[in-house]
Amino acid sequence: MTKTISIDPITRLEGHGKIEIFLDDEGGVKDCFFQIPELRGFERFVVGRPIEELPRITTRICGVCPASHHMASAKAVDGCFGNEVAPVAHKLRDMYYHAHYIHSHIAHFYALAAPDFVCGPDADPATRNILGVVAKVGLEIGGSVIKARAMAQRIQQILGGRFTHLVWCLPGGVCKGLSKDELETIKPMVRELSGFADFSIKLFHDVVLANPAYVDIILNGPYTLDVHNMGLVDENNAPNFYHGQVRVVDFTGREICKYKPEDYAQYVAEHVEEWSYLKFPYLRKRGWKGFVEGLDSGIYCATPLARLNVADRMATPRAQEAFEEMFQTLGGKPCKALMANHWARLVEMLQNVEMLERYCADPEITSDKFRVVPKGITGEGVGIVEAMRGTLTHHYTCDKNGICKSANLIVGTTNNNAPIQMVTKKVAQALIKPGKEPTQGILNMVEMAFRCFDPCYSCATHSLPGQMPLDISIFDNDKLRWHFKR
């Protein structure tokens, strides 16, 4: 008789998701699926709107990474207007985005990832949360986390004029520059964040790396995949979260391709499965070969670890040191141990704070030449940034009056859809044993598989005409069938 274990709703994941694990007659894991019942439809919703409104509308896709959508959208709109952008505007946007990264990475590490390590994977679910983390590491550290997040938030507010859901970027630049007084307000906060980034790396050493059991889970656990890596890099192949070219490197370290944002459709395609609203991107030239690992597979990850795997170096010195140490500890680069994503976030955070330091010392940053008024409409633009959760692509076309004709979004989490499916199944198969009722700890360790990706399904699901159906899953002894109905 077939038994189904459902974990619903998934905890510590943005948007509603459901894992279903299907056991065979012997009680082993036969299959494992993610079900994403949410619907988003911004690609249809924005058609017919003035194209310059899209950076303001698309921030509403998600309350977690609205700035990522704002930036990618702004860059796509820049393209529709001929791509002439004030240089200082690029700097200001990048500066803002580093603060946004810090804000997000702190939340993920301390509120989402840390409970698994600090409290332990098999801790009582009622205490396996940020309150449990604070109880273990102390109020002082908890206070530092809150303060650091607040400072990262405040920097965003000063730069962008509001703390979330920006209305800041315009075609050709931004609507507000940075005054010298505002810069002086930001500087001490950047200094504190810089110290906090160092502290977070130290905490990872003390709590995770000092525990042999956790290191064993990272290096030898089932949380690995032989799939490729994707990330945005600068001209030196260092990670760049706001600007650059997309580089894809296979899991042996060999470059597969490197492309400009406007060429994305030549390199990436999306596979559709009837049981999910969420598409499955893959490398077009490799083709869709199913949920398979290997050098011939078209499946890739776009995560913090993937970004470091595709990079030859970091863009800043302290991040470079942390980058070298991380890969040395993990046995070399690229690294396939997905749990190392939590470490990679902290390495990225070092680059974020160092870049903020650079901008604070840049005399051009307070320039009042923060916008170039576009001279014409070219009708098409592609913007790619690295959302915290993966490479984010916005592609728009518009008519000669600037009215949106089409929009295509490949959202950060969407890139990771296939790897998430695959690693969740792999972990379930490794941990759930025939004849043994899975414990809460085991089920949490299955959830830990997707938490490596920090997935955010509220914005990853895409357009379908009509209304959101309710989800129902049906299983018979030999064949799994999925039905969606209103």
């Binding site: 510590r12 994941l13 509603h16 619907l39 309350g63 939340a107 989402l112 809150i146 703390f163």
Partner: protein, 173 residues
């Protein structure tokens, strides 16, 4: 007659939030209610209004510091609930409304508890008031309420408005 500019100072520093997404049908009802309140009264000393708040979890905690009272207007879906019905409760008997539940970092109750443990100056549970309007639809894109909720708007918006005035300590206009 009292004009908006003559509205008297309210006794404790209060934050009024309209929660929701403006493009997800009925999810925007809290935004509309708080926007209407704000339009009706204008600026009121000691009352900060954020009519359009689409964040949750720890992000929400960042907003609350240094306020003595929090008033949230949000949407809710309950079993068998009738669209347009509304509920009022405090954080002492918190129920999860649509936008106060957050699975990405921490839900509202956890965020409040964390803030208190950290010694942040945030509103006490008894001073955290939630108004939740029963809704029908929050998964379909629209910048309008569903028909039933729109039809009932005049009634429940006025009821909530008067309740808000009473809670805040100002005279209805």
């Amino acid at each position: 007659m009292e004009t908006p500019s003559q509205t008297r100072n309210i006794p404790i520093k209060t934050l009024l939030l309209g929660m929701g997404n403006p493009y997800l049908s009925d999810d925007a009802v809290g935004i509309r209610l708080v926007s209407d309140f704000s339009r009706r009264h204008g600026s009121i000393p000691n009352l900060d209004v954020l009519a359009e708040c689409s964040i949750g979890g720890l992000n929400l905690l960042d907003l609350l510091e240094n306020f003595e009272r929090l008033i949230v207007v949000d949407s809710i879906k309950t079993q068998g609930g009738i669209p347009g019905n509304w509920y009022r409760f405090t954080a002492e008997d918190l129920r999860e409304t649509m936008n106060l539940s957050n699975v990405h970092d921490a839900n509202f109750a956890t965020a409040l508890e964390l803030g208190r443990r950290m010694g942040m100056k945030i509103p006490a549970e008894r001073e955290t008031h939630i108004f939740a309007v029963e809704i029908l639809e929050n998964l379909v894109f629209s910048d309008r309420l569903t028909e039933d909720l729109e039809k009932a708007y005049a009634v429940y918006s006025e009821e909530i408005y008067r309740e808000l005035c009473s809670l805040i300590g100002i005279r209805p206009l």
